[in-house]
Structure formats: C-alpha cells, structure tokens
C-alpha cells in the first residue's frame, strides 16, 4: 500500500523552483495564501511541515489536508555582446502535499506528511547558448514524514518527525560548447537517477505565550542525496571518442540544505491574525555538483558555492464570516547565489512574492483552500565563471528575468 502511494506521488508531483536555489515553497495552501508563513500557525495539519509541535494545538481530533499547486514559470535570458536571447519552456509544475494529523489525547498527537520542498524543472531550448551548462533539468525530492507532537504544558509543545526522502533527477546538457558528431549533432549526456533514498528530520517548538501571541521555531535537517551507479546516457558522440564516452553509470551527491524557521503569530482581533516568519536556508552546504562518470569522461567538476540565505515573510488572515477566510501576504526572498556562480539551471535572482488566498467551508467538516502567488524577480545580470573546458575557463553571462505564477487548490477535512 505504501509503495503504491509512493508511485502515485512520484507520478503526479513535479515541481518548479520558486525560491532561491531549488527550494519550492508551496507546502500548504493556507500557508501560501499568507506568504507561506506558518511556523506559529495552528490552522490545519499543514503544521506537520511548518512546525510539528503545532499539531498539539489543532482544534479537531482529525485533520486531513491535501493540496496541489500549479506553477507556471518562465525565465528569459539575453546577452548583449552576442546579440542572442533564449527563453525556457518549462512544463507546468505541480508540487503536491498531503497531511494527516490525529489527536491521541490532550498531550499527544501524531500524523503523517508527504510533501516536496525541493525540486526544479527547467527546460531551455535544446542546444541554446548555455547548453553546455544545462539543456533541461528535472529534480524532485519527496519527503515522507511520520510525526509526533507532545504538549509539555499549556505554553510549550514540541514535535518531531523523521523524514524518508526520495530523490529523482533527470539532467541533460551538452558535453562542451562545441563538440558535435559526424552529422553535426551536439554531443550531450543525460543523467537519470531515481529512488535515491536518504533520511532527514523535522523538529519544532511552539510557545503559546498568551492567547494572542504564539512563537514557533522549526528546523528541517540537511539531507544528502547520494546517487550511486545511476544511469548516464551519452548521445551523439563522435566515432573516435566512443571508446571513451560510452553509456555508463555515474555517482553524484546533491545536498538538500537545512532550514531554520523562526516566527510568530499575533491575533490583532478575534478574526484577524498576523504572521511573520524568517527562514534561514543553509545553502552554504551546496558546494558543488560534481558528477563522477565510470568511463573516460572522468569527473565533471561543477562548483556552486552557494551562501546561506534568508527569506522574510509577512502574512495576514482574516475571517470574513463562519464560512469564508481571506489571506494575503508578501515575502522577500534573497537568492543564495554568489557572484560568478549564477547558472541557468537555477537562474533565480532576488524576488518578491505577493500572495493571496481563501478558504471556504463547503460543509461542516470540509473546507476548500485556494492560493495564489506571483513572484516578481529583479532583472539580473549574472555570470557563471567556473566552467572549465580543456583547461580554459569559459564564462557564461547575460541578463536574466524570471516570472512565476502559481495557483493552488486544496481540501481540508476536519473531524
């Protein structure tokens, strides 16, 4: 049964980066409506992701949440010197999540979460100017997190959930800025890895300091996805190189960085809640994306050298009446990329997110959730200065501009 759920999940979950790096912040429709705040919110079982400790504060014995976000993203590239431009043709991203929380007694709650906090789908035109860096990439990391939470006192709750992480990646790029086979086709390699498994955890603390003020802290651990003996498919290799560049296996490590969130909620009235979160993502753990091939291609060194980055989120929720709740939010997302390390596979500059959301009770127990997000990116001139071709560093630079629009739908069942 569990296996089947996994298969279904991996089929329908595809994601598109909408935060710095390959973090995809759409882990709850209610949260997304208010700028993806939530470390101190106690609205629904979305808390399994945002702060496991908050499960103890859910109002119902059973709370089930399911949601999907449709993400339409585009990145444009241009280079003035070369008088060239390109644009991604990304498929619609559909990161999804599922949470179930059950109250055991006054003190103890437990639950299960399934969510995809990391992912990336970028598809440039094949053989475009930056094809030696990436033609297309699809990355997914699916987290399955059984969770328990315990109320230490009326003020303090703690929660913890170990997470099993499944990684899938497909990545294609050309072997150099020029290599072609006898028919003029660019030589390229496709890396495919699936079912890469790793373990992480999510831990949280909730402090209800008064009826109106709650403070939350959560920490999601770093996860190292280690792809071993996965498939590397070399295409369009010139005849005399086929003795070196044949289809083979590869090893590579990809880090899913740790994230610390600190936040609070404040009830400014009986119907209105303000939420403020700060995320710190420890991107500095992402040093490189080196790929070791088991053929003459050897090891491909790809320095990334990310830096830790903060996101500031401010959201508001207002209950219009018993049935309708409205939400809005704004957040500032700082890109974790150092100068000279801007690659078109995660071409994300600093951005501002504007969000809106609504929940509507269709029955006593069932609520429909909607969210909307517009990410506004600065136009950015970036370059990647660490691509080594035959001992020569070849820079790839240009102007980038991105836009992301996301619409999310969810169901929340409370019993």
């Amino acid at each position: 049964m569990k296996t089947r759920i996994l298969i279904i999940a991996s089929m329908c979950i595809s994601t598109s980066a909408l935060a710095g790096g390959y973090r995809v912040a759409t882990q709850g429709q209610k949260a997304l409506g208010m700028a993806h705040t939530g470390v101190a919110m106690t609205e629904s079982s979305e808390v399994i992701f945002f702060n496991p400790a908050a499960m103890t504060s859910l109002k119902n014995n059973l709370d089930i949440t399911a949601g999907t976000t449709l993400i339409d993203s585009v990145t444009k590239y241009q280079n003035q010197t070369a008088n060239t431009s390109a644009e991604t043709d990304n498929p619609l991203g559909t990161p999804s999540n599922f949470y179930i929380a059950q109250r055991h007694d006054e003190k103890l709650s437990y639950g299960l979460g399934l969510y995809t906090p990391y992912g990336n789908v970028v598809e440039w035109e094949k053989d475009w100017s930056g094809s030696h860096l990436v033609n297309n990439i699809e990355l997914k990391a699916i987290y399955i997190q059984p969770t328990i939470a315990y109320k230490l006192s009326d003020t303090y709750s703690v929660g913890f959930g170990p997470a099993i992480v499944y990684g899938l990646v497909e990545f294609n790029r050309n072997l150099s800025t020029s290599l072609i086979d006898g028919n003029g086709n660019r030589s390229n390699v496709t890396l495919k890895a699936s079912g890469v498994t790793a373990i992480g955890y999510n831990v949280g603390l909730l402090v209800k300091s008064s009826n109106d003020l709650s403070v939350g802290i959560s920490y999601r651990s770093k996860v190292d996805l280690k792809a071993r003996d996965e498939s590397a498919d070399f295409e369009n290799i010139p005849t005399s190189l086929q003795g070196e560049y044949f289809d083979t296996t590869f090893n590579a490590d990809l880090v899913l960085p740790a994230e610390l969130t600190l936040g609070l909620t404040y009830n400014i009235s009986a119907d209105t809640v303000l939420a403020f979160d700060i995320n710190r993502t420890y991107w500095s753990a992402y040093h490189n994306l080196d790929v070791q091939f088991n053929n003459g291609a050897g090891t491909s060194f790809n320095p990334r050298n990310y830096k830790d980055a903060n996101i500031f989120r401010l959201g508001v929720q207002h209950k219009m009446n018993d049935d309708l709740t409205l939400r809005a939010g704004v957040y500032l997302d700082n890109a974790p990329i150092n100068d000279g390390y801007f690659t078109p596979e995660t071409a994300r500059a600093d951005s501002t997110g504007l969000t809106a959301g609504a929940s509507y009770k269709v029955s006593k127990r069932m609520e429909l959730d909607f969210s909307f997000l517009q990410l506004i990116f600065d136009e950015f001139n970036g370059s990647y200065d660490h691509y080594d071709q035959s001992g020569t560093i070849i820079s790839f630079s240009g102007d980038y501009k991105s836009s992301v629009t996301a619409i999310g739908f969810g169901l929340n069942y409370k019993y």
Partner: protein, 502 residues
C-alpha cells in the same frame, strides 16, 4: 464598519492585481536587437567580397560547403539582409562537405581534416574519408559572376592577373579554385569579375598569402623586397612591399571606377605568430634521460669541437652552435642558413644548432620530430640525430623579414582606408592578437588560439573555424557600424561550429 472593511479589501485587491500584472511582464529593460537594426549611411544594396582562402571560407585544410556557408562574407551578407541589404549574395559553393578538389577527375587537394581522438593521449588530425566530387574544370559555374570572390591561395598580385584560372595553366600556373568559377577561366581576372558587379559595398581582405606562404613553408622561399616584378617570384616568396602597394591601389581603384560612390572595408594582415600553426609545437619537445643525453653529447662532440676550433674568434656563434643535451626536455636540432658556412673546412660541420624559444616550429613538424630520417638507421631521429630542415622552422631572421613586409603591407592598407571616407579599416591583426593573447569572450562563451581546443582555429592551424569567422564578422560589423553610423546586428559566435572530431 463592515462597509469600510470591504472597501479596504477592495483597495487591497486592486493594488494586488496591478502589482501582479506588472510582474508578469518578463521583458528586459534593454532588449537585444536580435535581427533588427539599420544600415545607417552604408549602401549595402550590392555586396561583393574579394580575397583569399580567408574570404572563401576555407578551413581544416580544405574548401568545403559548410565552411563556405559560414564564411565571414556569408555571415555579413546574412546580417546585411536583415537591415535591408543585398539579399542575393552568391558564393561558388563546392559540391560536398569533404572538401577535396579534383582536376580532371584526379584528386589534387586533400579532403578536410577531422581530429582522430581514438588515442586520447595523441590526438591526430587526418583527412576525412571519402571521394570528393568537386571538379575544377567544367564545374558548371563559369559564365556568371559570384558575390564572394574569395580564392584560396590568391596573393595580392593574383587578383589583377587575367587568366588566373586558365585550365591550361593547371596545376602549377593557375589556381583551380578560380578555374571553377571564373566568368571566363581563360581570360578573367578576379578583380574584373568583382568590379563588373558594380558593388555598392565591398570587403577586401588580401595580402595574407604575400607573407603566409613563405611562413608556412618555414621560410624556404625568398624575400623579394626590392624586386617589384611578381612575375619572377616563386610561390613561397615574400612579396615586395612596393609591388604590394602598387597592386593594392589598382584593386581599390578598380572598385571606384566601377562605382565612384562605392563604400567598403579593407582588412589588414594578421601576424603569423598569432596562429597555432606556429605556436603549437614547442622548441624543446624532446624528453631525454641522462644516459641518452650523454650518448648524444658524445655523438655531437666532434661537431662542437670543430665549430669551437674554427670559430674561435666568434664565441657568440660558438655558443649558439654548441649542441648540448641534458636530462629532461631538450630543444630540437635545426638547420640555420644564417650561420657561418663551415662546410668548406669540414663537410660534417653543417649549419646546425639547437632551437631556442625564438624559433617557431611549424605545426607539421610535430609528426616529423622523433621519427627516423632513415628508417634503417635508429640514430637518425629527426630533430635529435638529424637536424630539422629549413622548412620545418621559422628562425628569427625569417620572422623579421615577415614582420617587415607585413608592417609595410598594413601601412599601405591603412593609408588606403584613411585616404577615402567611404572606406573603413578592420584591424584583423588586433583581433587575432587578442585571440592569441587572452582569448575573446564573445558573451556566451570564449575562444582562444590553442590548437584543436581553443575553438578559434580549424585543424589546419591557420584558418579560423566557423566560430572564429563569426568573431571576425562581428569585428567587421562593429567597424561598419562605427564608420557608417549603422546598427547592423551582430551574430552569436556560439552558434557556429568549431573543429570536427572523427
């Protein structure tokens, strides 16, 4: 109270919608021109180019179809057409992508080179397999004229020579590439076929072979400075700068006679020292252990002793000629005709010395060094036991002759451009120098002059790749834009090919 709250929400929604609408706009503040632009003061309605292999689109030691299609004239014509220029630019395309040339069905020029990487430690260029189909005589192209009048091998004075493509003169006294497409092979001169088209705009890049053929053959030819009669020159000689100046004036004049308002670009001559044909093979490619070095020094002891005895009054030359091998990398032994001839005293004291960093070994010497001059005698290793020949290396005296002639040619070209406001100069020497010194970053990537890996030069080590030609086309476009207040769009060199791997 409720009303007011609704109004606030309404206002918030409107603000939000406005922000979202502006955010969906992903247009750049300053978008690239793409294929738009204008020709400014340039009249590009009839575009003609004239020159040698570089203008023909020659690469990888051959003239082949895709090379021609990516020649700098073809790239320019394509960009000119985007701003309303000549859309009927024609080239005498060869028949295939193999590149070899037939004369009366017999292969006269080799196929293009591809790089064999079967042994990754020893990449070797070799002609691509196949039987070429391009015939010099009876190609079917004669009788009309072509916009691209680039003929591989042409020197300055060939352009004005009637019957330069005369089939009766083949192969030695005529150029089979011009035989292919001359309007009348027996009588036509390249310049008359070019000027007959009455171009409104031309590019002329000529004079490379006036020094290059001397250089690539290692200086076996003669410096003809002071001899203004090209009819007396050998094929690998350096052209007399005075003869060059006279010819150059006539060529520019021919365009002006055909169209007094003609505009154009004059391209100067690059330094041979910037091309990988002369910079790839090191002067000291011979690895030796101590025992072998000792053995060789023993073999050269008699030579060293003989030279020292006879040239005792000239210690500088003695030092230059003393051959000494050591453990490690060693300089090759080369012939140097500028040394004092001692063979009258002793026939064994030939004009040889070890190379220095100032000597430029030609690319083709790499396949010779280390092999046996006499396969039956293991002591006759080229460059070690037997000196490399004059044709394998450019020595400083020869380089000085090339530099002197090239400097004179470029002064002539610059003066011609300066003298006429309708003409602009493109400093190709500066472009190639930049490629050689630092490489050129063309925005989406970069090229340099490293052989096979640098991306700028094709496998013959002399001619650019398509990507290199694209960089050159951009340099020409830049000068036209400046000189004629135009904004012709540049191309992205990254979309052009480099070398071909087997």
């Amino acid at each position: 109270m409720m009303l007011m709250k609704n109004q606030i929400i309404k206002l918030a929604c409107i603000t939000f919608a406005c922000a979202v609408v502006s955010a969906c706009d992903t247009d750049f503040d300053n978008p690239v021109s793409g294929s738009s632009g204008h020709s400014g003061d340039a009249d590009l309605s009839k575009f003609v180019t004239i020159g040698d292999s570089l203008t023909a689109g020659y690469a990888d030691g051959a003239l082949y179809k895709s090379g021609q299609e990516n020649s700098y004239p073809a790239i320019l014509a394509q960009q000119f057409a985007k701003v309303g220029g000549d859309s009927n630019f024609t080239q005498p395309l060869v028949s295939d992508n193999l590149g070899g040339l037939l004369i009366n069905n017999v292969q006269y020029f080799d196929n293009r080179l591809v790089l064999n990487l079967t042994d990754p430690t020893s990449p070797s260029p070799e002609p691509i397999a196949g039987t070429p189909t391009t015939e010099a005589i009876g190609s079917g192209l004669n009788g009309s004229v072509f916009s691209n009048m680039g003929v591989p091998g042409a020197k300055s004075f060939h352009l004005g020579a009637p019957g330069y493509g005369n089939p009766l003169g083949l192969p030695a006294a005529a150029n089979p590439y011009f035989t292919r497409f001359a309007s009348d092979p027996a009588t036509a001169a390249m310049i008359t076929d070019a000027a007959a088209q009455q171009p409104s705009f031309f590019v002329m890049w000529i004079g490379n072979n006036d020094v290059l053929s001397y250089a690539t053959t290692g200086g076996v030819g003669v410096d003809q400075s002071g001899n203004p009669n090209p009819a007396t020159y050998g094929s690998n000689d350096i052209t007399d700068p005075t003869a060059f100046a006279g010819v150059y004036a006539q060529l520019v004049g021919a365009f002006k006679v055909a169209n007094p308002a003609v505009q154009g670009v004059l391209v100067n001559i690059p330094d041979v020292k910037t091309i990988p044909y002369f910079t790839t093979v090191p002067y000291n490619p011979v690895p030796l252990d101590q025992a072998t070095a000792d053995y060789l020094n023993g073999q050269y002891a008699a030579y060293n002793g003989g030279v020292a005895a006879i040239l005792a009054a000239n210690p500088a030359e003695v030092a230059k000629r003393t051959i000494n091998f050591t453990a490690g990398q060693n300089a090759v032994v080369i012939m140097d005709e500028y040394l004092t001839d001692l063979t009258g005293f002793n026939p064994a004291l030939i004009n040889m010395r070890q190379a220095t960093a100032d000597d430029l070994l030609v690319l083709t010497s790499s396949s010779k060094i280390g092999t046996l001059a006499n396969p039956a005698d293991p002591s006759t290793v080229w460059g070690v036991g037997v000196p490399l020949q004059d044709g394998d290396v450019l020595i400083p005296e020869e380089i000085a002759l090339i530099d002197a002639a090239r400097t004179a040619f470029n002064n002539t070209i610059k003066a011609a451009a300066d003298a006429d406001t309708n003409l602009v100069l493109v400093d190709s020497a500066a472009v190639l120098e930049e490629i050689s010194n630092t490489g050129i970053d063309y925005g989406t990537g970069a090229i340099n002059a490293n052989y096979a890996t640098g991306g700028a030069f094709s496998l013959d080590g002399v001619h650019p790749t398509a990507r290199g030609y694209a960089v050159m086309a951009n340099a020409i476009i830049d000068e036209i834009n400046t000189g004629f207040s135009a904004s012709i769009p540049r191309v992205d060199p990254g979309t052009y090919t480099t070398i071909f791997v087997k």
